[in-house]
Symmetry: C2
């Protein structure tokens, strides 16, 4: 089946191949120099390895960025119970860490997507306490790390904020979402709108992109500026599809699923250096 | 503002940093060996550089894969006119190349997403002829490279297939889609369904995920198994959001936007070695 054209391609391909491999070697060297540069620019190792968690390190890293996302979304996985950092406890500690990094970086909204909805099924007070404990490791008892948490359900949102009366606006809003806030939410909104049509509250021709957009945002919040995946492959896992049209998506092929500050900083770096996207 | 905890972190961080940099050097070597291996496994250079385009090379590459996607989607950009491979001609030649690779690889459906819809605005016969010309470079005049092309509009699809009467089923179905098949299609479907509710054809509670899914698929085809981006950053550009829930998404950070066989093969390789995803 191998004809003569393929044969001659094999011979010339061999020599071209050697040249190409040389180019690939050069690329690998360039990549190494770049990662070396990244490591020296940001004090990633200091935060990862230092026993003293301090927001100052994050703040120092962030000042090197030309812009910081206002709204960050992350996709988290519950790891198996017997693994280090696994189970619900591991997941809650991941949420707390990311929340601390977000406050440190100056983002004001964080959306946590966990496909199965295990976070949303926990008592909201438990989630709140777990995050608060984690933030205390970074910020002490200071009032600079206040937050409000939202359990996003398609038929209504429960929230929990700082308990002290008369306290200032929280520094970070945290949305908990899951697979049911994805396609199913679009179905629910379609049903709500057609219900309104049936009751003559609205007419089909008044159903516009803006109307649907508003309905969806009311239920799960605004569109994130940056979506961070900690998996090595791009896997949206059913993340609310409507909401990532102009979102910058970051995935680190070198990462193995660990929720690490290195990946977080790399994502922020990519966001700051990304080209302007149409529609943003 | 730098307290003593940060200072001690700086010193210990320095030594830890050296260790980390050594690890990164090792990773770069591993990466180089892997890319070397990839280049030798697949005859990428042969097809890219050989003057004889032959489907045999693609077929040889594909036999090394454990599975091949049935439906492949690609996001293509129209490059500026004065650039090599730019303008509408460059775009059409890209579509033809990808179609040839798909047929060579044994995929049976190809969805081409071009955000602005320039492909859909061309006379369908012109697009058909351009693809046919390109396929002839690979397959000659053989009947092994027949295809049918669909211009997907939200209010109806135009199609064009092999002209000879009584010809066999086409080898490849090609869908042309654009930004208007994205969010706007969901709005249109919502409007259609609420219209049906207004006319008492259906009731709001009968609007289920399956109903919406069917309505959407009727208009833009099935969900792709693999979505290939040729940009260096993950950028969905408004790709129909409903349709990528379980799609494997591939993006090559090393690529610069060129529609190359190397990226195509890397994507197929990633698809074949990807973990099983929930819901697929």
């Amino acid at each position: 089946m191998v004809d003569s054209a393929t044969q001659s391609g094999t011979v010339s391909g061999f020599f071209f191949g050697i040249i190409l491999k040389f180019v690939f070697a050069l690329l690998a060297v360039v990549k190494f120099v770049r990662s070396f540069y990244f490591q020296s620019t940001y004090r990633v190792e200091a935060l990862t390895l230092s026993p003293h968690k301090t927001p100052q390190i994050i703040r120092n890293d962030v000042t090197k960025l030309s812009k910081v996302p206002r709204h960050i979304a992350v996709i988290l996985d519950r790891k198996q119970k017997h693994v280090e950092g696994g189970g619900v406890e591991g997941l809650l500690s991941d949420v707390g860490e990311v929340a601390a990094w977000c406050i440190g970086a100056g983002a004001s909204e964080l959306t946590v997507y966990e496909r199965t909805g295990v976070l949303k099924s926990l008592p909201l007070q438990d989630v709140y306490n777990a995050i608060e404990d984690r933030l205390r490791m970074y910020f002490g008892n200071s009032s600079s790390a206040t937050f409000k948490i939202f359990n996003r359900q398609n038929d209504g949102t429960k929230s929990l904020g700082p308990s002290a009366a008369g306290s200032a606006d929280p520094k970070l809003l945290i949305n908990l979402i899951s697979e049911s806030n994805g396609r199913k939410l679009i179905v629910d909104v379609t049903r709500v709108l057609s219900d309104m049509v049936a009751q003559n509250v609205t007419s089909p021709k008044d159903i516009t992109l803006d109307v649907i957009d508003r309905q969806l945002k009311e239920r799960i919040g605004s569109e994130p500026d940056l979506l961070i995946m900690f998996s090595s492959e791009i896997d949206l896992q059913g993340y609310p599809p409507w909401h990532i049209r102009v979102t910058e998506i970051y995935c680190s092929p070198a990462n193995n699923g660990n929720v690490s500050y290195l990946v977080f900083m790399k994502a922020l770096h990519a966001f700051a250096t990304a080209k302007f996207k149409l529609g943003r």
